[in-house]
Symmetry: C2
Subunit: 389 residues, 2 copies
């Protein structure tokens, strides 16, 4: 186990009707907020009206930035920064899914910065301050509600890049599982895969002696595996929705980081897919992760055996580690298929003609490697895309 510092500073307010507390939470920080929203679903569900009422009851003035879509674009981030500066808004409230909250975070870190906020995403500069961000989460998936991450796509070249800094960890997040009852099944499944991916990026590490965090990872994975089919069977299953939602937060809030070094290659490889083909991140991950696993499992077969046995209940003869490891990967693919996700590029109607271009972007023209469990170069990434065909 490596040395580590641990502090999850986001206050989580979880459960039924908790969205009504949003105004009183914002008020602790500011009386002038930018309200970031997505499409019309929060208006249809009535959530929007509740938020506005709560803000008004607490004397919060707000200006809205709406229309934030999946794989959120830099253009709207610029627009949000401008709105904040022009109107002296000093709190960013995101109400929606990961894209809305990631946009809120990008705006929060962009407002006090004199340069181009994309500098932070392209690693040209490091942020030093940010406005506080709060949110109401409607799509459990990215874990952004309590994470230090934000992922934005630059339309100029379709680069999808992430920023990680404690500065953008939300000061509060409101999570009401009831708000997820109306999610389409496909989005529920994509969310489940995204959470699993966050957990697995940590799970596959070269750091030894990480027993507790291994087991915490397994707890999160099993919870998602058991509860996602229940939520798909009955969209209004509060218990299942609550388990999924809370698992999603814990998959990415830092709980399963202590003392380990994560991999994150699959996220990088997937980002090229969803930047180019605009598929859901979770659906990209259900394609990339199995291929990545098949490509790297021999690097530490015992870790894949543990994954197969503890997470997927594989109970084959331990004389064949390889068979156990592969059966674990196989069961994961079967699970993804069962919940309606693609597991190959062709499942998602993604052509093969841009594999080299994506591998180039992912490795900055083969000038850097991707991942930590196994460091992958451009050819490795081409091989992984090919395994995913």
């Amino acid at each position: 186990m490596n040395n580590f510092t641990f502090l999850i500073s986001t206050k989580i307010i979880f459960g039924k009707d908790t969205e009504e507390l949003v105004g009183s939470e914002v008020k602790k920080y500011s009386s002038r907020a930018l309200l970031c929203t997505g499409g019309g679903s929060i208006k249809k569900s009535g959530l929007y009206d509740k938020v506005i009422r709560s803000l008004e009851e607490n004397g919060i003035e707000y200006i809205e930035l709406s229309g934030i879509q999946a794989n959120p674009r830099l253009g709207l981030v610029y627009e949000g920064i401008k709105l904040c500066r022009e109107n002296k808004l000093d709190f960013i409230l995101g109400v929606g899914g990961g894209s809305v909250i990631d946009t809120a975070k990008a705006i929060a870190v962009g407002v006090p910065y004199e340069g181009d906020v994309w500098d932070f995403y392209s690693m040209k500069a490091k942020p030093e301050k940010a406005l506080p961000v709060g949110d109401i989460l409607t799509i459990p998936a990215t874990g952004t509600e309590a994470s230090i991450s934000s992922v934005i796509t630059n339309e100029d070249g379709m680069y999808k890049r992430g920023l990680n800094t404690e500065l953008i960890r939300p000061v509060f997040s409101i999570l009401n599982p009831e708000l997820t009852f109306t999610l389409p099944d496909y989005q529920t499944a994509c969310g489940a895969c995204d959470m699993m991916a966050h957990t697995m990026e940590r799970y596959f590490t070269n750091v030894e002696n990480v027993d507790l965090t291994d087991r915490l990872c397994e707890a999160i994975l099993k919870t998602i595996i058991n509860n996602t089919p229940l939520a798909l069977k009955d969209r209004s299953d509060y218990a299942a929705r609550a388990e999924i939602m809370w698992a999603g937060t814990n998959a990415h809030n830092g709980l399963v980081d202590p003392g380990r070094i994560g991999d994150w290659a699959s996220h990088g490889i997937e980002h090229e897919l969803s930047a180019l083909y605009d598929i859901a991140h979770g659906a990209g991950l259900s394609i990339v992760f199995p291929a990545w696993m098949k490509y790297v499992y021999k690097h530490n077969i015992n870790r894949f055996v543990q994954f197969a046995v503890r997470v997927w209940d594989v109970d084959l003869s331990f004389e064949s580690s390889e068979a156990i490891a592969l059966e674990g990967i196989n069961r994961m693919m079967e699970f993804f298929k069962k919940i309606g996700l693609p597991v190959t590029l062709s499942d998602a109607n993604i052509p093969e003609d841009k594999i080299e271009e994506m591998a180039d972007k992912c490795t900055n023209k083969d000038t850097k490697t991707v991942g930590n469990f196994v460091k992958l170069n451009k050819q490795d990434i081409i091989n992984i895309y090919n395994l995913a065909k």
Copy 2:
């Protein structure tokens, strides 16, 4: 799952040599600290000198309150409060085990209060403010390093009582597993039992649909069960010590609370034992918990089956739930014995003549019940003490 609020506000600094950071952490809050310490072990180990050096290098003036013992007494808390007031100290630093840190917390909440600090422990008053507390933990056990709890014994009547308030959650805690290499085996074992007890107090709940937190509890328990024998076999096994230490924090920092209502009867029943006979809290718990389980398991046999199967790998015929449940309890007792803990009152040379007196104290003369999983009255508690004979 019930609604909940979640925020673990303690910054954990974990790993080798981290004690050297203590001065710079204190400095973020104050330049005048009360330094609380226990017996001479931190002087012998060299930790004391390192702490003093780090405080001095960071310009922290300090006054020491030493001699804090197991089952810490109210008398020293009064003395600490007096020292702080007389010397205008506004940060409390605990360096030691749970007793030292619990004393530090009691002083922190006592200094700004005009009345008697015992009012908070006897439920006569609720604290409204406290000085910040930080610590270096040397005995992984109570989880106080990131918890909202402090337990103090009032010598006047030997009442051992707890206070729970967010105000006393440490602002930072420094955890270096190397500092635990010199712990006597018995203290290592008592600590392991205390952590397991914290987890089990949460595990046995009447709240339904708590899948993720169940699994997180099981992860913590299995980590302690697997690593404690390794630490006892080789006291300097860093990996095992680190797992135990981090498990102990997670057992009591609030990670396994969300959405559940814990029981806490066994802690109440044990407190009467250790207040009266001055045995280690962990050793009292290894006596009380099995008896409590035998007394209540029929209340929700399926939960005890889950505990037996998932935590203790019991693999009997599922046609007999009762056999599985009892085998789980049996394996827990065997584990406690294996690591050198008592599992009966006679193992700890505790006489039977004060059972009624203890049951009286525990239930305030049968005017209140104890526990939530099953609400226990005075007679129930007598029965449990008798089961522990």
